[in-house]
Amino acid sequence: MKTTTAALAAVLLAGCASVPSSKPAADGKVDLGFTNDPYPGTYTRVAGPPVLLQHATVLTGTGTRLDDADVLMRDGRIVAVGTDVEAPADAVRVDATGKWVTPGIIDIHSHLGVYPSPGMSAHSDGNEATSPVTAQVWAEHSIWPQDPGFHTALAGGVTSLQILPGSANLIGGRGVTVKNVSSVTYQGMKFPGAPWGLKMACGENPKRVYGSKGGPSTRMANIAGYRAAFADAAEYMKKRKDAAGKPDSDKDSGGKRDLKLDTLAGAINGDIRVNIHCYRADEMAIMLDLAKEFGFKIAAFHHAVEAYKIADRLGAEGVCGALWADWWGFKMESFDGIQENIALVDRAKDGCAIVHSDSEEGIQRLNQEAAKVIANAGRIGIAITPEHAIRWLTQNPAKAMGILEQTGTLEVGKMADVVLWNGSPFSSYAQAEQVYVDGARLYDRRDRTRQPTSDFLLGQDVMRGGVR
């Protein structure tokens, strides 16, 4: 593969630059303000020189593997991927002989910042477990940017992540996508132009949390709860839409804004991606019907330990499965987990498998989770190549999160979110040596000046040696 031309790069760059920060009205829809953002992102990339990674095994995230290949980053973007790439004179050249290069890893399911370390009661900000439908809350308003887990995830190659509310509620609220960069504020981490996610939950958790607090206490009441909420949202949308066509200088003839229904309306509109925590195959099928009933699209089922039972249907409906490699058995709805779940979801026609973490430990080694899947798929004669598997951690989550135009693959014009590994990433021994976010070297295993430390951990070792 030869270097893509600069002209094509320019086109792609322009395409990325045009990604809006709020909802467009290009399809003729009137912007009813459901996804206005009064808390806009302030992230700007860290400046740095051009970087040329040379002679690496490159997994592009598009399903391609390039041997002895180069990746050139400049001004925060990927400028060239191929062999014998020419770099500007001021480029930093990194000899990556024997090493592997992949897109930055993306975790679609994280609670970093909202359930941070240390896990003190004062830090428990991930579940607004006071009402089964809390679509009005936004996870971003709970994020503690000093969670040390962001930095350990960075050392594991994670460059972008979606931070979701927990799963106590039927409808838990909005999730937010951030770049894994250090900032005093969460706004300084917010991924430019990324849509929000809506977090919903099936099954046992809402039943358990609300069973003695007024319900739902059954699965049938779970479904009734979603339906009531979306029926309210549909009526709200109609009211706002009718009002929008009328002269109204104050823009309030549709009645007071309802923060809960704004979020649900945004989900119905397709501007907020629907992410559903749902384990059992039969419950996922109900949720697919619910989505049709109210006209929304499900981006991904999360955890979904029974996704393998309906893998073909998920593929046909264009719904991703965001899954663990091997978790199971911690509750009844996870009893049927198998280690081939991801491989079987991936195998289906148009299957979209994602390796997710839901864990401050797991997010540090999503590459190893994928390695387990490859190994277990081999047991049943399903051969999976590294260039294919890397998509589970890069391209596929980017697609489900609505950020694939900007990141998730090593394609010219995209954000230069790149990981340099010490070898194949699919191993217990794999380590990210360098991690680039928008072309900036923000983590380097061999360079102390590129290893961030949370405010919380600062000075914790001042008395070290005092314990004698």
Partner: protein, 431 residues
């Protein structure tokens, strides 16, 4: 639904149990890379002969005789691995209390402490738990069952023990006593960890008769006194769950003064006091993936904990904080990551074989090394067993091949192929 998976599983278990009583076959594993987990290290292109469930010969070109022969094609052969400290067989579904027997809480609440060291969690062990086949097809042959501490119980959770994952009903080797100290145990010691030493010494006073059995301060039953007398006299291993460096130092002093043989579980800050642990000859079971300050006892957590402890001369094994039982198979990922962070590979394997076997006194009860006369608990791998990229190809316990099947493989096979008309609840060969 006469052919439910559970029914079939029970049938399979019954058949396998029956085969366990059949006369032991001879087995010859040819051309393996034999990781002996002993001073002999790794032997390339080596044969291992098994007779009567024991390793009878190790060498090259061994005669097959009547043995069934397995060609290892140069792949690694190890002892069956230690699965960590788990609740395998004493819990089925973590969230369903009726299936969980892991900890005792006879008291009515946190303020009503019931100290029952005689509690023996191995008496709840169910060798037909579905967790057993799920775990052992991954190359794990044995585990240490733990007695947890919870409100209504005490700092002293009770006793656990080693079980072989071969269908045996009973634990093997000596029992071990489980104690939780530090921040995790503070809700069991009147809200202060300072009281943990007071309570432990109060129990010693009672065991040694300084508090009469009929005293209002007596906490133990006669059986409890007898149990603690053994452990407080150096007569058994006491597994102490603890993290903070300062707490570990106090524990070392306490254990030395009271003649208690301890091992540490967790020890996120163990590396800070590694020389003292080495000097006291205390084995440590670490979570090699714990590198976050999960709480204020673990501020010093680092992925290099295992490597630093080992470098100081501490015997290091592994345990999982998170999903220890259902995902016990993850323990080799812990070892691999410890190796990636500086632990020598051989020490990683030792942490899954000889270190826990020696610490728990079960060297003769589990095949923790590949040596002549040892129980033939063996695993043939597709590659380096500490790398998640590889799988167990075959597991033998006492020289017998175990069925490489579990409820999970049954579920997988049921959904592996397209529907052909009959619903999937019918047997695969009928569809």
């Amino acid at each position: 639904m006469s052919n439910s998976p559970m029914k079939r599983l029970v049938l399979v278990a019954a058949l396998f149990a029956a085969s366990g009583f059949a006369s032991a076959q001879e087995l010859l594993i040819r051309n393996a890379t034999v990781h002996t987990a002993s001073a002999r290290g790794t032997l390339r292109a080596t044969d291992v002969l098994v007779r009567n469930g024991r390793i009878a010969a190790i060498g090259s070109g061994l005669p097959a005789g009547n043995a069934s022969v397995v060609d290892a094609q140069g792949q690694p052969l190890t002892p069956a691995l230690f699965g960590g400290i788990t609740d395998i067989g004493v819990e089925e579904v973590s969230g369903e209390s009726a299936t969980v027997d892991t900890a005792l809480a006879l008291g009515s609440g946190a303020s009503d402490m019931q100290v029952r060291p005689e509690f023996d969690v191995t008496l709840a062990y169910n060798p037909e738990s579905i967790l057993v086949p799920v775990t052992r097809v991954e190359g794990i042959g044995w585990t240490l069952l733990s007695a947890g501490s919870r409100p209504g119980g005490s700092l002293i959770g009770g006793q656990g023990g080693v079980v072989r994952l071969d269908g045996s009903l009973d634990a093997v080797g000596p029992r071990a006593l489980f104690i939780t100290l530090g921040g995790e145990g503070a809700n069991l010691s009147g809200s202060s960890r300072a009281a943990q030493w007071m309570l432990l010494d109060q129990l010693i006073d009672e065991v040694r008769g300084r508090i009469p059995a009929d005293s209002q301060f007596a906490l133990l039953t006669p059986a409890g006194r007898a149990t603690l007398a053994k452990y407080f006299g150096g007569g058994g291993r006491v597994m102490v769950r603890i993290h903070r460096a300062s707490d570990i130092l106090r524990l070392l002093r306490w254990a030395k003064a009271r003649d208690v043989r301890i091992a540490l579980v967790g020890a996120a800050e163990g590396w800070k006091v590694a020389p003292q642990l080495a000097a006291a000859n205390v084995p440590v079971f670490v979570d090699a993936l714990a590198n976050l300050p999960a709480d204020f006892d673990e501020l010093g957590a680092t992925l290099e904990n295992a490597a630093r402890l080992h470098a100081a001369g501490v015997a290091v094994s592994f345990f999982q904080t998170g999903d220890a039982s259902h995902n016990a198979r993850k323990v080799r990922q812990l070892a691999g990551n410890a190796v990636a962070n500086g632990l020598p590979w051989e020490a990683g394997l030792a942490g899954l074989t000889t270190v826990p076997a020696n610490a728990l006194g079960v060297g003769a009860d589990v095949g923790s090394t590949i040596a002549i006369g040892q129980r033939a608990d063996l695993v043939l791998w597709s590659g380096d067993p500490l790398d998640v990229a590889n799988i167990a190809r075959q597991v033998w316990l006492d020289g017998r091949p175990i069925p490489m099947r579990s409820r999970q493989t049954e579920l997988r096979d049921r959904y592996l192929h397209s529907d052909t008309g009959l619903p999937r609840t019918y047997p695969n060969d009928a569809r």
